[in-house]
Symmetry: C2
Subunit: 171 residues, 2 copies
């Protein structure tokens, strides 16, 4: 929740074979992804891939991060779906190799487009239904409630138009 930042955290990371750079990167991305409501394992995977100078296999991830097969597979799936990670071809190699896409803005764009904007649409239709329902309200409450719903409506519109702009600003 609005946690007062975990108590004197000392190494969330448990996997072996990790150098200091990797540990820092992993913890950093765990925190970052948590902010977006994504599980720890996804932060770990992305963090390790991010600082890795060469592509890694699923098996690398499993052993170095000490996570399960399923977690690695699902985490990679999610990360690919949002454009944060891609598979690269490795000649003469059977297994898939993965790299982090360093263009974080692409990832942010996809996140906004696929997660936020759809929710704003749903919210908009809710507001419409609320406006329709205003008529049923007792006279006394109608005016004030209408004002509040309008406020909501203004915010949704602003969000829908400004979010993409704000994103460009960061990119």
């Amino acid at each position: 929740m609005l946690s007062e930042s975990r108590p004197a955290e000392q190494s969330i990371v448990k996997g072996g074979h990790l150098g200091p750079i990797e540990r820092e990167a992993i913890e950093m991305f765990i925190n970052f992804f948590r902010l977006l409501g994504l599980p720890k394992s996804i932060g770990e995977i992305y963090g390790l891939l991010f600082v890795s100078p060469h592509p890694l296999t699923m098996d690398d991830l499993m052993t170095r991060l000490d996570i399960s097969l399923g977690a690695a597979s699902q985490g990679l799936k999610t990360l690919r779906s949002v454009g944060a990670v891609k598979a690269v071809y490795s000649p003469g190699e059977r297994r898939d190799h993965f790299v982090a896409d360093l263009e974080l803005s692409r990832f942010a764009a996809s996140f906004i487009k696929e997660q936020i904007l759809p929710k704003l649409e749903v919210a908009s239709s809710r507001v419409e239904r609320m406006e329709a329902a205003l008529a049923e309200l007792p006279e006394a409450e109608r005016r004030e409630t209408r004002a509040r719903i309008n406020e909501l409506s203004r915010w949704l519109n602003r969000g829908r138009t400004m979010l993409p702009v704000a994103l460009k600003l960061l990119a």
Copy 2:
């Protein structure tokens, strides 16, 4: 997680005595707050307060939303702490009355300032430690890893400077 939006949801809200406007508002804010990783009960409370034309007591919230004493108390505490709700004085009344602060931008500002920016600071110091640790790295990997850490650093700086700007844009 990156959920494909819950299956044909029909009324998450369980409390009785709620009109259609209230139900819509509550579900809407449940979803919105969930995006920020806040629990359902907080969305319910804020949603009901938002569309309510007059201040409500803790007891109102408990009965109408059918939540416990503790949930109401803690939820209000959190909401007040981020400036989303405030207590208003009600003459000749013993109990506290609460209203939603309609200025959502205030809430957003407080969220960024208290939740995001501190995390960016922590992340920055991580990056510094990573840069320091670069020296220990085998020659072969150093160049590429350095490039990646630099990328990270650029992003953090951009975030720290642009986030407050982006916020102003929305307000």
